[in-house]
């Protein structure tokens, strides 16, 4: 007799456990407004990434087209993947001294792993992370970027 009651108890408890499971899915089905789907390309306007989001490495320029990069090459040394290449040039500055400046700060986005070492180790805070995240391109060459804008120069007072 005991096994018979256990048999029916098993069936009953099993059914109860199944019904509790169904209450969870049922609750979300009948409760409106619980969908979390973001309709991504449509919500571009209100989509805002967090300030620290590591989308890509950028070099901030001010309104006079000046940046902080001295071309020292510390970021290049620190980059684990070789995604930064510094091409520097020598110029003679106003005081008549020879000075090394940045010619091209080349950044291979396709090789970057967003470890943040270049931004962290830059002695003059020339680099930062941008929030851009739509990086898909049709040509791989477009992933190689020159970070310093054409015609830009070093901001005064940055060594």
């Amino acid at each position: 007799m005991n096994s018979v009651t256990e048999y029916f108890k098993g069936i009953f408890n099993g059914l109860i456990s199944l019904l509790t499971g169904m209450t969870v899915t049922g609750k979300y089905f009948f409760k409106p407004g619980t969908t979390l789907t973001q309709q991504y390309p449509n919500n571009r306007a209100e989509l805002k990434m967090f300030d620290k989001f590591k989308g890509e490495v950028i070099m901030p320029h001010n309104e006079n087209n000046e940046h902080h990069c001295t071309g020292c090459g510390i970021c290049e040394i620190n980059c684990p993947n070789g995604s930064i290449e510094i091409i520097s040039a020598s110029i003679t500055n106003e005081e008549g001294k020879k000075q090394r400046i940045i010619d091209k700060h080349i950044y291979h986005l396709g090789m970057c792993t967003f470890c943040g070492l270049c931004v962290k180790t830059c002695p003059s805070q020339a680099l930062a992370f941008g929030q851009e995240f739509e990086h898909a391109v049709f040509d791989r060459k477009k992933l190689t970027k020159v970070l310093n804008q054409p015609g830009s120069k070093l901001m005064k007072g940055v060594e």
Binding site: N13, G14, S17, L18, T20, G21, T23, V24, T25, L36, M49, F50, D51, K52, F53, K54, I74, N78, P80, T113, F114, C115, G116, L117, K120, T121, F129
Partner: protein
């Protein structure tokens, strides 16, 4: 690889199927060569290496701060804990004591990492067993933790937030508020997990008594983490060799004796609650202090061998660095928990059904990049 192909020929009456490297239940490029007799599994032979990137070899040619971003890519669900392991080893070698602030933040983030990893486990384990809705609920809640990571660390999964001597930058001002909001939210929603899966009679039938491992076997095979603790093997590194701020919090080590699939699952469910307790003890008490120690631009470890183990979401991750005094390590070895936990899969699943094999390998919560490294 050749051996497997040969045994497909049905002369020895074995029915050999390949699970993976592309298979819905292997969560990655794990290939299991399964010999069957009807539905009964006779032998499971794991074939790994499909995502072997030679991280240990790569580490030999880069500097210590650069190693950290590679460890993210091993066990990507415990990325922060992996980072921490390398940092702790380097700090130990250099004799640096990081500030309390760093320790607290690291501990909180580690526990958040653990919760999100277990959430993903819950989601995918449910999916392995055929309860597809679990996947969405698990990822829905995980998303909230990833948002916290994104706000503070800049990355969602691959955080790269630790650096030798501290952190990459200070926490975001919203960090504490968001974490507390999350815990408040998740304490409510975790009951849904139990309602939907833990209590379900089909789920219990599928998992109870499946893939039993005794405590002796667990120790012999070196199984750590939730897998070992489900067998009663007390192996929590946080408890036995506390690092960061784990010696300042009180928490229970979840131990079960049964060692079956259900209890491996249960350990993780309980650990999520325990992790929330740890976070609650720390989140309001983060002390003021520097978020990084002053480090030399080039870190050189003194000659010697350094070993540090931490508790990731899957078990004990050991980082073993042999230094010859240069800026590059001489040899780096990662003792990854998944690699060790994979080994006994054969003895665990011998004699069970195909469906059980899926449940067992799901309950080991394997992350293939961590196995292959």
């Amino acid at each position: 690889m050749e051996e497997a192909v040969k045994s497909v020929v049905p002369e020895n009456e074995e029915y050999v199927i390949n699970m993976g490297p592309q298979h819905p239940s292997t969560h990655g490029v794990l290939r299991l060569v399964v010999s069957l007799k009807g539905e009964i599994v006779q032998n499971v032979q794991p074939h790994i290496g499909y995502i072997h990137r030679g991280i240990e070899k790569m580490c030999e040619s880069i500097t210590y701060p650069q190693i950290i971003h590679l460890t993210d890519r091993m066990d990507y669900l415990s990325a922060h804990i992996n980072n921490e392991a390398v940092c702790l080893t380097v700090e130990k070698a250099l004799g640096i004591e990081v500030s309390d602030r760093v320790k607290y933040i690291r501990t909180i983030l580690s526990e958040l990492t653990r919760i999100q990893s277990h959430q993903l486990f819950w989601a995918t384990f449910g999916m392995d067993l055929g309860a597809l809705t679990c996947f969405f609920y698990g990822l829905r809640d995980r998303e909230k933790i990833l948002d916290i990571f994104e706000e503070t660390c800049g990355g969602r999964m691959i955080v790269s937030y630790n650096a030798p001597g501290g952190l990459m930058n200070d926490i975001h001002p919203n960090f504490q508020k968001r974490t507390k909001e999350f815990i408040k939210y998740f304490r409510k929603t975790i009951h849904e997990y139990d309602k939907l899966l833990t209590g379900n009679v089909i789920f219990q039938e599928r998992t109870k008594g499946i893939g039993r491992v005794t405590r002796e076997d667990a120790i012999g095979w070196g199984m750590t983490g939730p897998v070992g603790r489900a067998s009663g093997f007390s192996c929590d590194v946080r408890k036995h060799n506390p690092y960061s701020a784990y010696d300042r919090v009180t928490f229970n080590e979840i131990l079960y004796d049964e060692g079956d699939t259900f209890h491996r699952y249960k350990v993780r469910m309980d650990e999520m609650l325990e992790s929330m307790n740890i976070i609650e003890q720390l989140i309001d008490n983060i002390p003021e202090g520097p978020w990084t120690e002053k480090m030399k631009p080039v870190i050189k470890l003194p000659e010697g061998e350094y070993f540090q183990s931490v508790e990731t979401a899957r078990g004990e991750l050991g980082v073993f660095i042999v230094s010859d005094g240069n800026k590059n390590p001489f040899r780096v070895k990662f003792r990854s928990p998944n690699f060790v936990n994979l080994a006994p899969l054969n003895i665990m699943s011998k004699g069970s059904k195909i469906a059980d094999l899926v449940a067992i390998s799901g309950s080991l919560d394997l992350i293939i990049p961590d196995i292959d490294r």
